[in-house]
Symmetry: C2
DNA sequence: TATTCCGATAGTGAC
DNA sequence: GTCACTATCGGAATGAG
């Protein structure tokens, strides 16, 4: 078994990832990413043999029921993160502040998939948008979560009507043309996802580094970005700078 | 005074390079290169203020007398190296073996200049062709001595007749079209030296690495070349491999 | 192509 | 795009007053 199939080992025997395991049932494992790229970085790993080797941009395409099931686990995982951050005293707002909590859950925690996963078993990332982690070591790490290479989960929702395969592209049922200013996407239109490997490799290796908080750009200066992310982190979270783990 | 003019300090006061100084008189300093790129790597530094800031490919062009003077120091310096290598017991042949000694002096020790010197004061390199040194750290180091970027001293000899400036190119009075198989070049023809900075930069940064002993090529694999040069060194010289200083 | 430091880029191997 | 390791490649500073 190569590194590409490490999650299969976890599916076959959750005891193999006890130190990372947060939740398991008949449908999924929820684990901590072994090399978290942000303050909290969890993974949902569906167990179904019929799904686990399907490309994440295609696996939900004709199975609204599967999408809906995973959607519930996404919400569950975001709640796990919120509970953990509150318990750790890392948030600057109180649990009773439902507006701030809602905003954080639905904006600052993102769920999604990589357009080209390196690990072959289907997995959905649930990750805070600080990207403040010693494991975030190079541009591709960062750009794999902050460019179109990362496709948010809600954009994978299949349409109500059964559309054609659309030339093999994954499709996107999203609100990207929604002019509503609501808190997060609710409507759907059909949009293709880029699946060309060369274009996607170019996206993560060549896209200029851009701060997810403020939009500041850093070209290819990764170390500069890291320092900036630390500054953003200490502003956003309830920690002393010396406690940080860049 | 910037790093580019460090040799001027030596010219003004040879005491500033006592640890490197091998010889001095009214015309030149002969010193060890402070960062030797081979087993022996010496420098001849002419002291004349009229010459020291002239480009090495041009400085001999209309001054056969100056060339002849430096030529004597080149021979002197090669003899210094031979004496030192014999004294150190590094050679596999005896001082009485005049054929081997002659061959080593005239083939394995080369004199020449860099087409684009980084240090502005005129200096002529006298260097053994093993390139076995911990100070040889990257491709440009190696290629600056093993490509056309390095112009051998004998090719700088001005012609007997006073030729025109030839469009600002340095010229080369060499035996490159000499069909004689003699031990080393003795005749002269006039050939231009490449002086275009971009082309020369390309030569040292892009030329594939090639062993000076056997012609083996290593593309850009510098570490591979280094290991090979160590193998060649222990074959060529009287040393145990563990004594080496790669 | 002076050195040195730092950092960005690239290839490999992993069973 | 898994990691970790090695190595290649690339820019910047360097001083003086
Ligand atoms: Zn920012
Ligand atoms: Zn060789």
């Amino acid at each position: 078994m190569s590194f590409r199939h490490v999650f299969q080992k976890y599916i076959d025997n959750a005891d193999a990832c006890l130190d990372l395991l947060l939740y398991k049932d008949e449908n999924v494992l929820i684990i901590k990413d072994g090399f978290p790229k942000a303050l909290r970085h969890y993974l949902i790993i569906p167990k179904s043999p019929d799904k686990t080797q399907i490309h994440p941009l295609l696996v939900f395409q004709k199975d609204p029921q599967f999408y809906k099931m995973i959607e519930e686990y996404v919400t569950k995982t975001k709640k796990l993160i919120m509970d953990d951050l509150f318990a750790a005293g890392l948030l600057k707002f109180d649990k009773t502040d439902t507006l701030a909590t809602h905003e954080f859950m639905n904006r600052f925690i993102k769920a999604g998939v990589h357009s080209i996963p390196s690990l072959s078993n289907l997995h959905i990332h649930i990750i805070t948008q600080d990207f403040y982690s010693s494991r975030l070591k190079h541009k591709k790490h960062y750009n794999s979560f902050t460019t179109e290479f990362f496709v948010e989960f809600y954009r994978l929702e299949p349409p109500q009507t059964d559309l054609e395969d659309q030339m093999g592209y994954g499709y996107d049922s999203s609100s990207s043309q929604n002019t509503d200013d609501g808190p997060y996407p609710t409507q759907s239109i059909s949009v293709r996802h880029e699946m060309d490997p060369l274009k996607l490799q170019n996206v993560i290796s060549k896209s200029p580094l851009k701060c997810t908080y403020c939009g500041a750009t850093f070209a290819n200066r990764f170390v500069h970005l890291k320092k900036h992310l630390q500054e953003e982190f200490v502003k956003k979270f309830a920690v002393a700078p010396e406690d940080t783990n860049s």
